[in-house]
Symmetry: C2
Subunit: 220 residues, 2 copies
């Protein structure tokens, strides 16, 4: 029996494709392209800065990534548009099964979020979706001044639950995060929402799901 | 006057788009898509593994990235096809201006390559293009067991030339590498071959070029 079930946030609980609608409203027919590049650069900048031994908080990185994406696509943003897109990150919708699965799962295990998002960003998106009662911890990479997949970030869950890694079930839709968590020693469920090919740079996850609903019937 | 001019390899001296032709021969009309995803995953895996505190050599990473890309695009590769694509990395063509610029530049400054490529990969692609006489050093990330943009890799140039960072001119076409080298303290020339928007996660390069030919007239 696991000591806790720990979720990644963006793409796992909260629908990052929700951003493409905000982008689409501002730039008709370019929404998906802008939101996809924005998200990709956001991830890249976390990895690159961490590897450079430098740190910027996740809100700043999100803004820098947006600047790069709008520059690349030649879609200039005024201050109001930029703010509207940034706010989109604080009001991402949860995936439809999330409000169904979390109440049931939280009656069986302590639940937490472990995310690259800043404490403030996590708090806001959780509140926006009225999910705060289901989690015992919102663990942000912020306190480590680095980002997943650094072991320093996964270690936050170890310290929060006084557990060895194999007693934590970690759930993520992001293949790179699944790989990092697996290498760290967690039991890992990959919620492969987008039917992607597995990442090949580390061992495979313990379970592969199509939706978080399957978590309830796993032999955790 | 710089103590050395140090070049990135892939995308800077050697045309990684050369891979798309090999891919295109195997998978007509899918060559550019396959080679682009392959290259992107190759970079991602270097950053992710380094951040996870793990190491795989660059040849292995290149192969793992190819597996993922072919899986993602549902373009299965038999052993012979895989080998042909991997060999493509050892026989990438130099950009057209390279054999013109290097002889002139090497008469003024010591030149080196500093690359994520393994020693063997670098040696082969340099020999294939008959450029070995222009470089005093081929510096591979291999000995550091991590990858650019880690400062440990850029530091190889410091040790090779007994120089402070600001006495090294570093030349790269890869925005993420330009950012890492700039943060390390090198003087940096970004050869922006593809007219990309600048990366925004660190300060700007000292110079931005359209082709390596412009190096000759820079006030280095």
């Amino acid at each position: 029996m696991p000591k806790a079930v720990v979720f990644d946030a963006y793409g796992t609980l909260f629908d990052v494709q929700g951003l493409s609608q905000v982008c689409e409203d501002l730039f008709p027919s370019r929404g998906a392209t802008l939101s996809e590049l924005w998200r990709r650069k956001q991830l890249e900048y976390t990895w690159l800065l961490a590897l450079m031994g430098q740190y910027q908080d996740f809100w700043t990185i999100t803004r820098l990534a947006l600047h790069h994406a709008s520059g690349t696509l030649k879609l200039p943003l005024d201050a109001g548009q930029q703010e509207r897109l940034m706010q989109g990150f604080l009001t991402l919708p949860a995936y439809p099964e999330v409000p169904v699965v979390l109440p049931r799962l939280s009656s069986r295990y302590p639940l937490a979020i472990l995310s690259n998002g800043s404490e403030e960003m996590l708090g806001k998106v959780v509140q926006h979706n009225r999910l705060q009662n289901y989690f015992t911890h919102l663990l942000s990479a912020e306190s480590t001044r680095t980002y997943k997949p650094s072991p320093k970030v996964y270690d936050l869950a170890i310290r929060a639950f006084f557990a060895v890694p194999e007693k934590i079930v970690f759930v993520s839709s992001n293949g790179w995060d699944v790989a990092g968590a697996r290498a760290f020693g967690f039991k890992v469920a990959w919620c492969n929402r987008w039917s992607l090919a597995p990442e090949t740079h580390t061992s495979e996850p313990d379970w592969t799901l199509e939706s978080l609903e399957e978590l309830e019937s796993l032999p955790l």
